[in-house]
Amino acid sequence: MTQPIAETLLWALPLVPVVTALLMLTTSDRRILSAIDLAGSATLLALALVLADDVAAHGPRALGVLRIDDLGLVFLLLLALLTMAVSIYTVGWLKQAVALGNMRAEPRYLRSYFALVHLFVATMVVTVLADNLGVLWIAMEGTTITSAVLVGYHGHHHGLEAAWKYIIVTTIGISFGLFGTVLVYAAAAQGGATGMGWSEIMSVAPKLDPGIVRIGFIFVVVGYGTKAGLAPMHLWLPDAHSQAPTPVSALLSGVLIKCALLGIIRFQTIAAAACGTAFPAQVLLVFGLVSVVVATPFILTQHDLKRLLGYHSVEHVGIVALGLGFGGSIGTYGALLHVINHGVTKALAFFAAGTAIARFGSRDMTIIRGLFGVAPIGATLLMLAALSLAGVPPFSIFVSELLVLRAGIGGAHWVAIAIFLAMVVIIFAGLLHHAGGMVFGKPAAEVARGREAWSPLFGMMLLAAIMILLGLTIPASFDGLLRRAAEIIVG
């Protein structure tokens, strides 16, 4: 492909969801809104795939403050894929939510809901494509603003409480991120860089003052780590994930926290070049371990299904951080694969949970019982998602967890490995206990036994297929992408 087309794609990608959002404002019919939603997401996915193809053939592309390399591509593909799945799921979900009274049916509420979802996606596209570290921060704060409104969208005061906690905690966190960015930029300006571009700072990174980069990196990890849900800055996460409308929960957990991880990874590469790989690895290792340990008791004692999945995201973000901390090409490859695997699986889990919650009218796992008897397909998908999340072979998460583990053993991080394994085993038992009860228990008499809606099932099956495929084999082109992306991080 010729150069101009690839560069056009770079600025066209963030515009697609923006235009989709604007189109939403022209109509108020639920069917037309869903159609625009599907079309917008399909366009985004198609363009992302074209760009992926081009980058695989010709290497990184840059245009102004935007840049795409193999590392960004991993996250972009996850984002586009999950946006597509969310759109498919939303068609049937919305119909049901309006019927149940969970979403207000007034046209202007539906309209602005769809518009906000696409603006949220647009801000995430910019975080992934941003080369300029300032733009990265602005887009990251943009994701907070758009998604905070969505978290409180039900208008219930629990939703507003969660939204407030979310916007305050992540905004404080991300202020630290900006401070860290300023410090790194100060070091870079001293080191001879004229701009804030990541690629430009990377070119002078070995000459940067290690002292200031070190402090900057810690600020950034705390800042973007808040957004990524790393413990102990994860306080907003279970509330926001449990109170948001289900499609938004899937986007928050599947994509948003991964975008924040990409921000951390960008700074990790700078810090590794300026003060050696050991320092950033050590920081990520500590935060990763703390996240895995902190999440465990909350997963075991949880009654609320969506909160359970929220705490589970804290654990898995911790595993990604561990993979990056163990480092080396295996650990980094495992961490990136885990980003994709967890994103796909967690979105599937939220979808399946949302459908079950709508059927039982409760998020309480002691009330959701015997799902298999009333909704066999949905129950099977929920069970598959839970098995994969727990790390059962042959599902995809098993593979990436194994890679992270192998990197840890290779680096002789015995204490970290021991803690990690113990927690994973405990969570395995806890999660299967919860899931088994929900799927196979005895259903209460008054459960709705209606037919399962096709569009949520189709969205879930799409994700389940990818989840199973990535567990069995990793396609060569995808493997190449992950290898090149890991190479960017490892250097």
């Binding site: 300029n132 300032g134 733009v135 921060w137 602005i138 704060e141 943009g142 907070t144 603003i145 905070a148 409104v149 409180g152 208008g155 005061h157 629990h158 507003l160 409480e161 969660a162 939204a163 407030w164 906690k165 916007i167 305050i168 905004t171 404080i172 202020s175 630290f176 900006l178 401070f179 300023v182 410090l183 930029y185 100060a186 070091a187 300006a189 001293q190 701009g195 804030m196 003052d209 002292g211 200031i212 402090i215 279970p238 509330d239 449990s242 109170q243 909350f298 004692t301 949880q302 609320d304 909160r307």
Partner: protein
């Protein structure tokens, strides 16, 4: 202006900024906290103007102007309106006594200076004592957010925290690129508006301060 004069002015402004921060921390009434944070933003704008004259960088003039209009006028005005709409004149009841908060603040400031002192070579890139002052303001803003019980004190703390970052960013030799600074300020305005709407929404539906809601646990 010679570099020494600029450095002296920036250091003096830094001292004043820390003073306004203490006023915010010790403010008994929300109005006082709002006036203090507006004053603080005004000092940031002055610092921007001083650095613009010293470096001859026109971008810093724009940043100073935007800070002046947005952070010293528009945002305090929004906060003021929200307070009027909420009709809360009650005292801000701190979680920790004011004395203890101020003691923590002193520790934070001393530690920030200690930390910056260990970074010798950085002083070439950042003017004067802007770095320790910036770190102090950022951390103390977070302290305000953590100890303040009402939604409005949390917002004031947030703006104070952002002020600290802006002060440091300005003192970095060339300043951040203009477009980035503008984008950051835009984000702050949007976040403030969304927060204000949420505060009013909760007040009208359940008649409570949004920061007092604590039913989500575990």
């Amino acid at each position: 202006m010679s570099p020494e004069v600029v450095q002296t002015i920036i250091d003096d402004l830094g001292a004043l900024l820390l003073f306004t921060m203490i006023l915010i921390l010790a403010a008994g009434q929300i109005y006082r906290a709002i006036y203090a944070v507006a004053t603080q933003s005004f000092l940031i704008a002055v610092a921007g103007a001083v650095l613009a004259t010293a470096t001859g960088n026109p971008d810093l003039w724009v940043i100073a102007g935007v800070t002046l209009t947005v952070k010293t006028m528009v945002l305090p005005f929004v906060l003021h309106r929200v307070v009027q709409r909420l009709n809360v004149r009650r005292e801000v009841e701190p979680v920790i006594p004011v004395g203890a908060t101020l003691a923590i603040a002193v520790v934070v400031v001393v530690m920030s200076f200690q930390l910056s002192a260990t970074l010798g070579s950085v002083h070439q890139a950042i003017t004067g004592n802007a770095l320790p002052v910036g770190i102090s303001l950022t951390l103390l803003g977070v302290l305000v957010m953590a100890t303040g019980q009402t939604a409005l004190t949390q917002m004031v703390g947030l703006f104070a925290s952002e002020n600290g970052i802006f002060f440091t960013a300005m003192a970095v030799t060339q300043g951040m690129p203009l477009i980035i600074e503008i984008g950051v300020i835009l984000d702050v305005i949007l976040a403030a508006l969304v927060m204000a709407i949420m505060v009013l929404r909760v007040r009208s539906t359940v008649d409570a301060d949004i920061a007092d809601l604590d039913e989500l646990r575990g």
